[in-house]
Every structure is written in C-alpha cells, then in structure tokens.
Point group: C2
Amino acid sequence: MIFDSTDKKLLAYLQQDSKQTNKELSNKLELSVTAVYERIKKLEKAGFIDGYIAIVNKEKIDRNFVVFCHIKLVKHSQDFVISFEKEVNKISEVLECYHVSGEYDYLLKVIVKDMAAFRTFMVERLTTINHIGSTQSMFVINEVKHDTAITL
Amino acid sequence: MIFDSTDKKLLAYLQQDSKQTNKELSNKLELSVTAVYERIKKLEKAGFIDGYIAIVNKEKIDRNFVVFCHIKLVKHSQDFVISFEKEVNKISEVLECYHVSGEYDYLLKVIVKDMAAFRTFMVERLTTINHIGSTQSMFVINEVKHDTAITL
DNA sequence: GTTGAAATCTTAACTCT
DNA sequence: AGAGTTAAGATTTCAAC
C-alpha cells in the first residue's frame, strides 16, 4: 500500500482531533471531500488506525492520582510470567503494564482517586497476585508532558 | 452539574469508541438520540471530555520501539526544573514526561523506530539538555496491557 | 427527555483525468 | 489508480413541546 506525505498529514490531524469533518480536513489538505474519505477508509483498512476514542479528564472523574509501580517477580519461569500477566490484565486500576529490561521486570501505570485508594489497591488488589517478589512505587508529582499523537 | 450513572456509561462508551453514532448510543443507553446528544454536549462543556482522537498503530508507522527513561537532575533549583521541563516538551520522541517521587526525578516515555534511532535520540536530543545528572533506560520488551479507557 | 424537521455530513456510484 | 462531481441516505443539531 502507498503511504505518502498526504496520508502522514492526515494521520497527524486525526491524532490531534478525530471529530474534524472530512470537509475541514479537505480544506487543510487541499483535496476533495471524497479523496479525504477514501484515504481515511484506506488507512483504517490497512490497520494504520486502531480506533477512535474520547479522552476523559482525569480530574473531573476523580482519578487524578497516578502512580508508576515497578514489579519484580520471585521467579521468571514461563508459568509465573503468564499467570502474572493474566492477573494484571484483570485489574482496572492498572491502565498500562510493560515487561521491561533492567532491575525490575514490569512497569505498571496505575490510576486511582487518591493515596487512600492507592493503599487499598496495593493491599487488596496488587499484592494479592501470586509470584510478586517486590514492588517499588513512584508517585506522579506533576504530569509535565502527555502527548497522545506520535509525530510522523 | 449532575453526573449520573447514565453519564458514566456514556463516558465509558465514548472512551471505547468515539465514532459510534448518537443513534447507536441511544439504543445502548435506552434514550432518545437528542438526549444522548445533549448529554455529550453537557459533558464536553463541563470539561469531562478533553477531546477525541484517532489511535494510530505504532507498528504500521514504524515507531514500535518504546523506552522508559529515568532522569536525575544535577540540582533541583526551580530554574533547573523549569528549564528541563521546557526542553523536554520540545522533543517529539518524548510522548510523556512525569515528575515523580523516588530515586529519580523524571520518568519519560520515548517512542522511536528502533535501537539505532534510540541511540540517536539519546546522544543528539536527550543528553544535550542541560542540568541532566544521570539517566537510566528501561526497554519495553512487551506491552502486556495498554488501556485507553479509565473504568468509571 | 421527547418528537420532528432543517442543516450538515457521510457514503457510494459515476465520471474524468 | 486516484481524485472530482453529484446525489441519496444518515447523522447531527436545534427548535418547540
């Protein structure tokens, strides 16, 4: 499939604001509405676009306490890894989980209401998972940057 | 403002797929199309929704190498902090930057093409920022979980 | 919150490079 | 093959109830 500079610009615009109409995009890209429409359909079908979502304001919904948790497993056998990853997927407070290189095995992004909710999360949800060796939490003091768009 | 369980469900749906029509949402919520429309407008105006975006597939656009970087500043005076945060905001490879508690001062999420691109990023972009004391990189081996929707 | 109707947008067949 | 024109159908938006 062809993926030219117009497609790149289009993806950049859609990453910024997916509610723009094809008419608005056609002006910005200097194309007809149909050309924009077909390029978007092409990008969707080719798998360039995974979906369209609304970004909700964390403060407004009382989920403004963000913590990154490092996790070390007691052992690294395949069954331990699979079991841990399955369990972590069930925890709604864990928005992201990465298997990473370095001293710790996993890096988790946890979003809760406040410190009290984090305590509950740690005691009742996270540390009840088997195979966890140790954890280390980093509290987010300030979100300096949070882009949702990847520069193309 | 009132924020009831229907609004919660609505936000949950929009976080999952913002391209659903008001008609589809009206069926799921058992409301009229206009009621859905007005609730969405209300949520937008009240600041519950920060925006609507397209999620781009990282593999497809050749940006599938994700690294978390810990950063320690040489000093923590306000001018050093402000200067660092300003510089980091300019770097497009840094999608996220958090001021965190713990041993390191900052946690960065970096997205590049591959290890070679990461090397270039480190040498030419990141470590040219003043005031950086030390860095420690964690390479993402596997993305175990990456939810974009916060459970309400 | 609902109904209904106008404005706007999406979508697809057709046409022209 | 890719882009433009047109027109039908769907959706958004906004009255009035």
